[in-house]
Subunit: 250 residues, 2 copies
DNA sequence: CGGCTCATGTAAAAGCCGTTCACATGAGCT
DNA sequence: AGCTCATGTGAACGGCTTTTACATGAGCCG
């Protein structure tokens, strides 16, 4: 018995030295493997080479460990969205789409974080710190939407930025949840989740009256000139782009 | 001891008579209360008044009970979507939106089913029956999208119906997951989830070139109340903005 | 250096769950 | 009546979470 345990002890002594971080890392791995539901406090302890009771010196209970991971996830999420947004460079629409892709990329590349953040059933609003972190991440989308809303072509009503942000968020989250992760990702789709979301956002923006057929914009000036076209009030914005946002001949 | 137990026995005899159904109902209640993660096989058994081992006569394990519930959920879901679609009456766009609302209504009114179906972490594609049920439900959306796609105004490219269906699904699922259930529903929104989704779908459809301003044009002609104000930053000028799909006078 | 203290880790135990197994019961058929 | 098989019981195993009393040793103070 405890041949391993003795060895571990020999390696690191009675005190671990960095147990909290070790537990977070272990948990992250376990969640990635088996989902937040399957993740076990005891397993994390074992993986860190300590007894099952040790984690309680660093986390009130299993849920607090999960919350810590979710929070860390929101922080990284925010960082990635911020980087993707890049303050709207080179132009607002391009940057906006990059944010959408970053959303999906995060869901795909950090399944453990995403799981803890959105699929673990944590009471988000029970933990103020967690809620704040979540809000900071959302604020990136919100800020981007605000910039986009300000670009509304003259003549078209300017959409409420908050609503736009919520719409975009729901699209990204919907695509990520349904098609971009784990089992559900196996559904046979006519296109990749990235393409699906990109088309969805483009169509949506077009519905708001934004010109979405931007091609390599000449460096420099921000707003692509809006064609001074008179759109018939209730009518359809004259869709440029023959083939639509989807007809990608690859 | 087991004063209760003896009583139960007296009431129903050694054999329960309808345990399977009783377990399903009990589980449904428990999931609604505490989520699929918190739901316990033992609890369901207790609630049905039988020993902890009894459920194993009817379900291979806890997961199979969960799957049964998810499957039943997909069936009811399909039924509700079918009813909402009503074969496209009175007109395709109206019926289409009704489907969206039915999606949200289901998520709201049947949290236990929705939880089991979409948030329980069940390996959907591991269970063929479950997957089939899920597909049948999705096919309602797909069929509706097909009808809608066929209506594409002449001159505009006809969008792939499958893509539209996936888009709509992701919107509905995104809104339901993020804003229409449990804790997350507490986020202070500028509008209800229903309105949010309706606006989202309408804008999307407009982006595809569909005329979306069908609406009894009678009644109070004008006042476009600035949609529930939320943006603090680049505020919307309180002036004009004749309402788009969002400025609902209602 | 010697000793104190307190954060950190351990072992043991209680209580809950899921799951299995041998056994009990009784409903329905012959 | 007797048989049989589906259905329910109780006990038991192992695992998980969480608490409690105790052990260890790192850092500080004189």
């Amino acid at each position: 018995m405890s041949w391993r345990k003795e060895q571990r002890r020999a390696e690191r002594g009675y005190h671990h030295g960095n147990l909290k971080e070790a537990l977070l890392q272990a948990a992250l791995g376990l969640i990635a493997e088996k989902g937040a539901a399957g993740f076990t406090f005891a397993d994390a302890a074992r993986m860190a080479g300590v007894s099952a009771a040790a984690p309680y010196r660093h986390f009130r209970d299993r849920d607090e460990l999960l919350s810590s991971i979710a929070q860390r996830g929101f922080e990284q999420f925010e960082a990635r969205l911020t980087a993707a947004w890049d303050d709207g460079r080179p132009d607002t629409v391009t940057a906006f789409e990059r944010v959408g892709k970053a959303y999906l990329a995060f869901a795909r590349e950090e399944p453990a974080f995403y799981n803890a953040m959105f699929e673990s059933g944590l009471p988000v609003d029970a933990n103020p710190a967690l809620q704040a972190a979540s809000e900071r991440a959302f604020n990136i989308i919100r800020a981007a939407a605000e910039r986009l809303a300000a670009l509304a072509p003259p003549g078209t009503p300017r959409p409420p930025a908050m609503m736009m942000a919520l719409h975009i968020w729901s699209m990204a989250h919907g695509v990520a949840s349904l098609f971009s992760r784990g089992d559900a990702a196996r559904r046979k789709l006519p296109m990749s989740p990235d393409e699906l979301l990109e088309a969805e956002v483009l169509i949506y923006l077009r519905g708001l009256g934004f010109p979405t057929d931007r091609r390599p914009p000449a460096k420099g000036a921000e707003p692509p000139p809006v064609p001074p076209e008179a759109s018939s009030g209730s009518g359809v914005p004259p869709g440029g782009t023959p083939g639509g946002p989807w007809g990608k001949p690859k």
